[in-house]
């Protein structure tokens, strides 16, 4: 539609005229492009539509063939009943607590380490960094059992310690990737800033806290988002370490809810929608950083 009105407006319309045939071909290509995009978007969005319509439907309407797409009536009580059948609000608070502690620990210890590995000179630094990075590709299953046994020996099962303490050691394991990302970012900040501060008698901590950190907000936001999402979505960790239902996270709560209300599709979809919604909301607020973050992880390999 827009392609049709574009040519007359163009100041160069006269010059382009001889290639009108080619333009026709291009317009045809454009149409094909949008047809292909829509063809891809429909199956991508369909599961979401299915989720929302099922979450708002009465059972009777859900089991009608051929399937109906518009709930009638809108069964909002699916949400209220599903979310009170199990204490999802409590699971939400638990998940937020774990996520916030993990994000704080990861951001703080990873950026401190990244600062040391990029802007302070000490013997063995590069070797230490290489050794640290070797842990990134390690399959999590290899460290799973001894780590579990360790927490068991320490009497920390059924607490949040196994889920949060590792993040205060630079994320440990896969989280080390954050050290790498932050270090790459820190290396782009001019070193003259540090030198000037040291001449004024500043300590490395001051340089870190008052110069490097404020200049690294984009990288810190990226690490924050991905750590938050990683914790929010983690299932195996809570599954292994938490027994008491009062301590469940959203993922664990949803899995247990699923095993109880096996065929209550309205409830199941309402609960799923409620678990998905906060992350999607977060995405819409911080969209730019999400895309930048994924891009960063791909490019800086």
């Amino acid at each position: 539609m827009t392609a049709v009105e574009a040519p007359p407006r163009s100041p160069r319309a006269g010059r382009v005229a001889p290639t009108a045939g080619l333009r026709g071909g291009r317009r045809y290509g454009k149409v094909l492009l949008y047809v292909a995009l829509v063809a891809g978007a429909v199956p991508t969005l369909l599961p979401f539509v299915w989720l929302v319509r099922s979450a708002l439907m009465q059972d009777a309407q859900m089991f009608v063939a051929p399937p109906e797409w518009i709930p009638s009536p809108f069964q909002w009580s699916n949400f209220t009943e599903a979310l009170t059948a199990q204490p999802f609000w409590l699971y939400f608070v638990n998940t937020v607590i774990i996520a916030v502690i993990s994000v704080l620990g990861t951001v703080l210890t990873c950026s401190v380490a990244a600062f040391s590995f990029s802007r302070l000179r000490w013997r063995g630094r590069n070797v230490a960094f290489a050794v640290l990075l070797s842990g990134v590709m390690l399959p999590y299953a290899v460290t799973l059992i001894p780590t579990f046994v360790m927490w068991q020996e320490l009497g920390a099962l059924d607490t949040y310690l196994p889920l949060t303490v590792p993040s205060w050691f630079a994320g440990a394991g896969g989280g080390v990737f954050n050290v790498f990302l932050l270090r790459q970012f820190f290396l782009t900040i001019p070193f003259e800033l540090d030198e000037a501060a040291y001449i004024d008698g500043a300590s490395p901590w001051r340089v870190f806290w008052t110069i490097v950190m404020p200049l690294s907000k984009p990288a810190i936001v990226v690490v924050t988002i991905f750590t938050f999402i990683g914790t929010w979505n983690d299932f195996l960790g809570p599954l292994l370490y938490l027994n008491d239902e009062e301590k469940y996270t959203l993922s664990l709560g949803l899995a247990s809810f699923q095993s109880i209300y096996l065929t209550q599709w309205g409830y199941l979809m309402a609960a799923s929608a409620a678990v998905i919604a906060p992350i999607i909301a977060l995405f819409f607020f911080l969209q730019r950083y999400f895309i930048e973050g994924v891009t960063l992880t791909g490019i800086k390999n």
């Binding site: 460290t143 699923q258 979809m269």
Partner: protein, 299 residues
């Protein structure tokens, strides 16, 4: 000069101090557990009992363990299906979005959205989509007059179904491809056009070679990640039907935390580790043949 060396000393002290959490974390949560799991794998150890040294006994037992081979083949099947499919779909969509598309952020958001769905919510949603009686898939097929399927409840269809499900989350891979495509230098395309090359030649001689490093990155990350699939088996299929979806990590989890055989499970973990090391090594060695590095000469 004295001040300079004072700063050096300060840097060394602070450098070590600030790297300490990360280094301790490596020892406590990575290196230590790795050595420990190797040691565990040489023992017969039921939780609550005392470990008894059995040498390579667990590993020889593995060789004769039918379920071990079953889990290995199920996981390989899944990886061989899911990784190429995700790569192709995400590359194709990234190519589309790399044209001059109106409303690029909206399209990108649409295709990225499934990636945001938390793993367990994703699994619950797809159980419902795969539901043979009233699920989305069979409802649509029935309406179109096509034959329906039992999906995850059918031994032969279970893994293909999970592969389709995994393709839904192609958003991350797509965004990385899109960034790679936007980094292909314009002048290369112009050079091909001047030589009279059309879209196909531009694709084969510029886009594809320039994208090989990005394809390689997505391939390695995809294979390593997919090989460790767990949630689908745990929540959706419990490894069934008839162990068709007994994925490796799920089998390991069952041995360790349901049957409490920590020694045997540790052997499984180390075999997994070796498999992933070998796959990664082979991928990297093979990469020399097809991955194009612009700066290869400079390095």
């Amino acid at each position: 000069m004295a001040g300079m060396s004072g700063q050096r000393r300060m840097e060394r002290r602070w450098g070590l101090l600030m790297a300490l959490p990360a280094l301790l974390g490596f020892v406590i949560f990575t290196a230590g557990p790795m050595v420990a799991s190797l040691a565990f794998s040489l023992t017969d150890w039921q939780v609550g009992g005392t470990p008894a040294f059995v040498g390579l006994g667990n590993y020889t037992e593995l060789a004769g363990d039918e379920l071990f081979w079953k889990s290995l083949s199920a996981t390989t099947y899944y990886t061989l299906g899911a990784v190429p499919l995700v790569l192709i779909v995400s590359f194709a969509v990234a190519m589309l979005l790399n044209q001059k598309v109106r409303g690029l952020p909206i399209w990108r958001t649409i295709f990225y959205l499934p990636t945001l769905v938390p793993a367990i919510a994703n699994v619950v949603l797809w159980i419902w989509i795969f539901n043979p009686d009233f699920g989305l898939l069979n409802s649509l097929l029935r309406q179109a007059g096509l034959p329906t399927g039992q999906w995850i409840y059918d031994e032969a269809m279970a893994i293909p179904s999970l592969i389709v499900m995994s393709t839904w989350g192609f958003g991350n891979t797509m965004v990385i491809f899109l960034a790679g495509l936007q980094g292909v230098p314009r002048h290369l395309y112009e050079a091909v056009s001047i030589d009279g090359g059309g879209p196909w030649r531009r694709f084969w001689h510029v886009t594809l070679p320039m994208m090989t490093p990005t394809i390689f990155y997505n391939l390695v990350v995809g294979v390593v990640g997919t090989f460790q699939v767990f949630n689908q088996a745990y929540v959706m299929t419990e490894g069934g039907p008839n162990n068709a979806t007994l994925f490796y990590v799920y089998y390991l989890f069952r041995i360790a935390f349901k049957e409490s055989e920590m020694g045997y499970a540790s052997a499984l973990a180390w075999v997994l580790f070796m498999i992933i090391v070998v796959i990664t090594f082979l991928l990297f060695r093979n990469a020399r043949r097809w991955v194009y590095y612009e700066m290869a000469g400079a390095r």
